[in-house]
């Protein structure tokens, strides 16, 4: 069959196996449709196991077929993965959010894909299955092979879901972006932060900005600088400066120059840290 819709994992893996690498997995399809559609498609947008949004122990499980709209509206994610809901709410337009999935967003491998940036800051790992049912769990960054180039062969492996640590007490996250207009626009730059506060100081920080490298990239140097720092404007200023020095940016005629992008990185880093810290202080055990 050339366009097959599957609703459970068994079906999906059997179909993948049968297709012998000739059928490509499709979820929402919005990115895929813009290129030439492959000959055979395996539609997993109704795959039950890929639609979960749940908490299991100290982990949040988010199915790869969850749409941006569902993620943005999820009370659980709003409470425990705020950066992700903020990111998802700003992608494209309602029409895109209603059908575009988190998995699709990551597989499309755009360097500044908002959901991917938030997931990276939340320390997300991805669960992949091959057609024999073998599972592997990888860091988000490992899903990228280059700019706009996924490391996953969607004719061989299914991205099933993401796992994110629920933050625990004293943690908070935030996402922000700047684009040329307020909808239907790719970001000029975006930033996401997750942090944990103890005794009014930063205990742990994960900071991601894009577009910088092919994959959403942690700013490890800036993170290291922030360890133990107080939650003050001075700290955010220092972090902004450090982030500007740490990133390698490229400019584009269509979006913005490298110089401005670097400047934006600084501004967005300062803002996203401040917001995340505010949430860490006021949220009781919420991320």
């Amino acid at each position: 069959m050339s366009y097959q819709v599957v609703t459970n994992l068994e079906q999906a893996l059997a179909a993948l196996k049968n297709a012998a690498e000739k059928s490509r997995i499709i979820a929402g399809g919005t990115d895929l449709f813009l290129e030439k559609l492959p000959e055979n498609l395996l539609d997993v947008s109704s795959l039950a196991e890929a639609l979960v949004i749940e908490e299991r122990g100290s982990n949040l499980l988010i199915g790869a077929a969850v749409t941006h709209a569902r993620a943005a509206a999820s009370p659980l994610l709003c409470k425990k993965a705020r950066a992700l809901t903020e990111a998802c709410a700003q992608v494209g337009s309602p029409q895109v959010r209603n059908i575009g999935t988190l998995g699709g967003n990551v597989i499309n491998a755009a360097p500044a894909a908002d959901a991917a940036v938030a997931l990276a800051a939340l320390g997300a790992k991805a669960e992949l299955l091959d057609c024999s049912g073998n599972t592997r769990i990888v860091e988000l960054e490992e899903l990228y092979a280059g700019f706009n180039c996924s490391a996953i062969d969607s004719c061989q492996e299914l991205l099933l879901r993401f796992m994110v640590h629920s933050g625990g007490p004293g943690s908070g996250s935030a996402f922000t972006r700047l684009a040329a207009r307020k909808a239907l626009a790719l970001p000029m730059a975006n930033a996401a932060a997750w942090l944990r506060v103890e005794n009014n100081c930063l205990w742990e920080v994960r900071l991601v900005v894009a577009p910088v490298k092919p994959a959403p990239t942690r700013l490890f140097k800036t993170e290291a600088l922030l360890a133990g720092k107080p939650l003050t404007a001075e700290s955010w200023r220092e972090a902004a400066q450090a982030a500007m020095e740490e990133v390698e940016v490229r400019g584009s005629l269509l979006r913005c120059s490298a110089d401005y992008r670097r400047h934006l990185v600084g501004v967005l880093v300062g803002r996203v840290l401040e917001t995340a810290a505010g949430r860490a202080l006021t949220g009781k055990g919420e991320a």
Partner: protein, 757 residues
């Protein structure tokens, strides 16, 4: 100025004013637009475009394409015998013959049984190009040794103009203050939502019928006939519903209609040719880009003494309407204020980039950006309130401007004051920037056709008592049909539901220059009024004959002195019997008052002039440079507003387009390649980008316009550019002089200033 009660009363009446039944078809998804049309046996056309910005064509091999199953025609420039055509200068061919001059230039065209095959056929066409050096910058194009695009434009200068009125040199010498600045605006596209689509249908007896929605069908039919060397009566345009125009659907895309026609004639079957959205951007005729160097001379009291403008506009590869647009851009703003001395230099320069067409307001808004920015710069130096500076200098009723425009009605001062009051000019919120700007636009410009300055219309009494109007003016959603029906209904004393209007078939519509020059209300509407009045006269006359006594028409029926009543169907039946089949028809011929203008363009070029003042309130994020426009107050003098619900729509829509031009839109090029070739990269405002817009109508009857009305449709997008630029400068303390005013440009302005510190 009307009292609040009067406006509210009128608003209550006007809010329930008329929309034609077509609006119900639109909300039901039943309206048929050009892209929805399907004719039996219809083929699909596609155009092959040059990938080179400048190249010689050494050969075009169409054989493989022609042999492809499903292909019914494949044409190259060599298959045609058409002479060059154009709007101002004849510098284009339907398909390039020996040279291509921009990336996207039309080289060949195919017609096939479906779009997929047509696209494959394009791939099978082999064109042998010999690339030539290309030039993309206007100043480089003017320099000696630059690649020459056209033999007919030596030095790549397609058009130029030098104009002096008064004694500007002396005025500049005597001035207490001179301010100057250099501004730039990019190409912008009308970005109507429905792509251009034409279904051409040819039969040797009936001739050529083009099913396509254009703003000036009569003119387009004649232009097409001329190029194809067909008798003009054998080219008919039948318009489906139009999905937006804004000047972009006037005649700039003539090539599409011509190529569709050539394919239809070749195949003997209807051919559908539609531009993809990408083709719209790379070949669909945006408006000129411009570099504007301006100078103002003032005295210490703030009186403007002189203005100097040196303008370079970017023609792109072919001229179309660019000379006219350049002219309007260079001089329209001179007539907003009492400026006694002016000096203008305009150069229209060819480059190997997308050729241009026209857009709403015809360059006036670009000129507004430059002029109004200079005024604020002057106000700052004089330590004068920018509002007071404008009130001091703005034109008033009775003025004759420096270009000879006769201002017979003008509420500009009231507009400025109303806009300022509503925006809170003297009650500013902290952290916000405020700007104001004023504009004039010709309402019924007469310069497009020296021989045909007015308009005509017919009003016909049907046998059922309803009235049908025939006019050549076009409605593309701005409410022209509804307004004309209101005018006719008012003139006839009928309910609007009793009147229908047809405009979209050149076979039955009177000739019209079309929906441009903001002429439809003033000129087209007046013709409708005259036609309706003539019909009324004739109906009364026929009724008087029928009854043998004097009669009067009131409330949709006729009453005699002795109390006898005649209904309209009875009168129609009588007339039909008397004349062996005719219907009572009123012919309305509107010939505008005499206006002479000399070869420099000095004279009263329009029937009336509309005015507007916009005020903007903005917030600038000084860290990111992001501009948030909080409010725009748009105060308009368009005479009597006949259709309030649609007038409000024009303000909201036009101001939004102006905001797009100010802050979001603009072509981006990489050499000759258009980078912003999609709605993703050519960004028009979304619902989340639009601020509060407050329309204010200052209504003073115009002396000429129907029931005192003047045009509104183009001026709505003019002063918003100056207002936003000035508001941003007020918020920032420094000025961005290149459009669009993006966050990055603001960042550069701040960074540059900080460097200087």
């Amino acid at each position: 100025m009307p009292t609040e009660t009067e406006v509210k009363t009128r608003e209550q009446k006007a809010v329930t004013s008329y929309q034609t039944p077509e609006v119900w078809a639109k909300v039901a998804g039943k309206a048929i637009y050009g892209i929805d049309l399907k004719l039996p046996g219809m083929l699909y056309g596609k155009i092959l475009r040059s990938p080179h910005p400048h190249a010689r064509i050494m050969g075009v091999d169409l054989e493989q394409a022609r042999q492809m199953p499903g292909v019914r025609a494949a044409l190259g420039g060599g298959d045609l015998s058409c002479k060059p055509f154009g709007i101002v200068y004849k510098d284009e061919l339907p398909l390039a013959l020996d040279r291509v001059r921009y990336i996207g230039d039309e080289v060949a065209a195919v017609a096939a049984v479906d779009e997929g095959i047509a696209l494959k056929a394009l791939e099978a066409i082999k064109v042998d190009y010999d690339p030539l050096p290309a030039v993309f910058d206007t100043e480089e194009a003017l320099a000696p040794g630059a690649p020459q695009l056209h033999d007919q434009y030596p030095g790549n200068l397609a058009w130029q103009r030098e104009l002096t009125r008064g004694t500007p040199e002396a005025a500049f010498k005597a001035a207490d203050l001179v301010v100057e600045g250099t501004f730039s605006v990019p190409q912008v596209h009308a970005a109507y939502l429905e792509p251009i689509c034409c279904v051409a249908d040819y039969d040797p007896y009936g001739g050529l019928t083009l099913h396509t929605a254009v703003q000036s069908p009569a003119v387009v039919s004649e232009l097409v006939a001329d190029v194809l060397e067909l008798p003009s009566s054998k080219v008919r345009i039948v318009g489906p519903v139009m999905g937006g125009g804004f000047g972009g659907r006037v005649y700039g895309n003539l090539k599409v209609y011509i190529i569709a026609s050539l394919l239809a004639i070749k195949c003997g079957r209807p051919v559908r040719l539609q531009l993809t959205r990408q083709e719209e951007f790379i070949a669909g005729r945006p408006m000129i880009a411009a570099k504007i160097r301006g100078k103002l001379a003032l005295n210490n009291d703030g009186l403007i003494l002189a203005r100097e403008v040196d303008l370079i506009t970017d023609n792109g590869a072919y001229s179309a309407q660019a000379p006219w647009v350049s002219k309007t851009l260079s001089e329209r703003n001179d007539s907003v204020y009492r400026i006694p001395n002016i000096r203008t230099t305009v150069r229209l320069v060819c480059t190997n980039k997308v050729p241009t067409g026209q857009y709403r307001a015809y360059g006036n808004q670009a000129g507004n950006f430059a002029m109004e920015s200079l005024l604020d710069m002057a106000a700052k130096k004089l330590e004068m309130d920018p509002l007071d500076l404008r009130l001091k200098n703005c034109v008033k009723k009775g003025d004759v401007t420096v270009h000879g425009l006769q201002i017979n009605s003008c509420a500009l001062s009231d507009c400025l004051q109303a806009a300022a009051d509503e925006i809170g000019w003297h009650k500013r919120k902290p952290g916000r920037g405020y700007g104001i700007s004023a504009a004039i636009h010709a309402s019924g410009s007469l310069v497009f056709d020296k021989n045909l300055r007015g308009a005509s219309a017919y009003a016909r009494l049907e046998y059922d008592g309803k009235v049908t109007l025939f006019s050549g003016e076009q409605d593309y959603g701005q409410g022209m049909h509804a307004t004309f029906i209101l005018i006719a209904a008012r003139a006839l004393g009928l309910d609007p539901d009793q009147v229908t209007i047809y405009t979209r078939d050149t076979l039955t519509a009177p000739f019209s220059i079309g929906a441009l020059a903001m002429r439809q209300t003033t000129i087209g509407g007046k013709a409708v009024q005259l036609a309706a009045e003539k019909l009324r006269e004739k109906m009364v006359q026929a009724a008087a004959e029928m009854l043998g006594e004097p009669v009067v028409m009131e409330g949709g029926r006729v009453r005699s002195a002795s109390g006898k009543i005649l209904e309209l169907p009875e009168i129609a039946a009588y007339y039909r019997a008397q004349t062996s089949g005719l219907s009572i028809t009123g012919e309305g011929k509107y010939v505008p008052p005499a206006s002479a203008y000399d070869e420099t363009g000095y004279g009263n070029i329009s029937v009336a002039y509309s005015f507007a003042a916009h005020a903007a309130e903005v917030e600038v994020d000084q860290e990111t440079g992001e501009v948030t426009i909080k409010r725009i107050v748009a105060a308009h003098d368009s005479g009597r507003i006949l259709n309030l619900i649609s007038a409000r729509g024009q303000v909201y829509g036009g101001v939004t387009q102006g905001l797009g031009y100010s802050c979001l839109e603009g072509y981006l090029f990489d050499g000759g390649r258009v980078l912003s070739d999609s709605l993703a990269n050519y960004r028009i405002p979304t619902a989340l980008d639009v601020p509060d817009i407050i329309p204010i109508f200052i209504e003073e009857d115009d002396t000429e316009g129907p029931f005192g009305a003047k045009g509104l449709g183009e001026i709505v997008m003019v002063p918003v550019l100056g207002a936003v630029a000035n508001a941003v400068a007020d918020a920032l303390g420094m000025r961005v002089t290149d459009l669009p005013i993006t966050a990055e440009r603001i960042y550069q302005a701040i960074a540059g200033w900080e460097c200087e510190q």
